[in-house]
């Protein structure tokens, strides 16, 4: 790995450790799943199915499990398809899922081009500023216009996550170098929210 790639990995990994540590210590949550590195389609399938089974065993309601499954699939596809790579072709993405009695917190992390940061910030601010009915209207608008990017994304991923979460998306950008930043998005799933 080149020294530049090492540096990118170091910054992303330190963000990952920070989130992991915060869940563990500050919020007293139990870490259910955590992964740093590449996400293959097989790993995405295995995590989604594993979490679904675990939640059903833990007694979560079917509706909650379905909402979590959808958020995981959307979030992990985002990371896989849209996560940028460093100059060595590495994605340095991550996922942390933490749980306590009242909620699940899912954080996705991936590299993002600094040049895309403003548009991402704008889109997420828009979603977070809307109430449930407005998010639904935005979903219909995007669905009607049917914009599919070249990478296969439908432009509905974050809107879908917001609809399923019924909470605001908690996101951050941390600068990595002049080209890339580390983007994280935390999605909350209430365990008693139906």
């Amino acid at each position: 790995m080149s020294s530049s790639s090492n540096k990118v990995q170091e910054i992303c990994n330190s963000r990952y450790q920070e989130i992991y540590g915060n869940y563990n210590s500050k919020s007293q949550k139990k870490i259910l799943v955590s992964h740093f590195g590449d996400f293959t389609q097989d790993l995405v399938n295995s995590i989604s199915n594993g979490v679904e089974e675990g939640m059903l065993e833990a007694g979560d309601k079917k509706g909650t499990v379905k909402r979590m499954f959808s958020i995981l699939v959307e979030g992990l596809q985002n990371v896989r398809l849209h996560g940028e790579k460093d100059e060595d072709g590495q994605q340095h993405s991550f996922l942390v899922i933490a749980v306590d009695e009242s909620e699940y917190l899912v954080t996705f992390g991936n590299l993002l081009l600094n040049s895309n940061r403003a548009i991402m910030d704008e889109r997420l601010k828009q979603i977070n500023g809307y109430d449930e009915a407005q998010v639904k209207a935005l979903y219909m608008e995007v669905l009607t216009n049917g914009i599919i990017s070249t990478k296969g994304g439908a432009g509905l991923g974050f809107i879908t996550m917001a609809m399923k979460s019924k909470n605001k998306l908690n996101y951050t950008f941390e600068e990595v170098n002049d080209k890339l930043c580390c983007f994280t998005c935390e999605v909350k799933v209430d365990r008693n929210g139906g």
Binding site: K62, K66, S70, L143, I148, A154, L156
Partner: protein
């Protein structure tokens, strides 16, 4: 373009649809509609799964095909 055989029915039943598939299926329904407006869609979903029911409702709004909703009860 050829039409489908008379009284053709498209039965769709999903446990889950990702957002990118939601758009892909809409495109497919629009293609079917362009070919033959008489095709009927039967949208089957599990009782209580309002999200999947709503996906079907959205399709009904966005394409001109006839929809029948079939709620599966256990």
């Amino acid at each position: 373009m050829n039409r489908f055989p008379a009284s053709s029915v498209l039965e769709l039943e999903f446990d889950y649809i990702s957002s990118s598939s939601v758009i892909a299926i809409l495109e497919m329904l629009k293609m079917i509609e362009e070919t033959d407006k008489s095709v009927k869609v039967i949208w089957t979903y599990e009782a209580g799964d309002d999200d999947l029911m709503n996906v079907g409702m959205n399709y009904k709004k966005l394409c001109g095909l006839e929809f029948e909703f079939n709620e599966l009860t256990e």
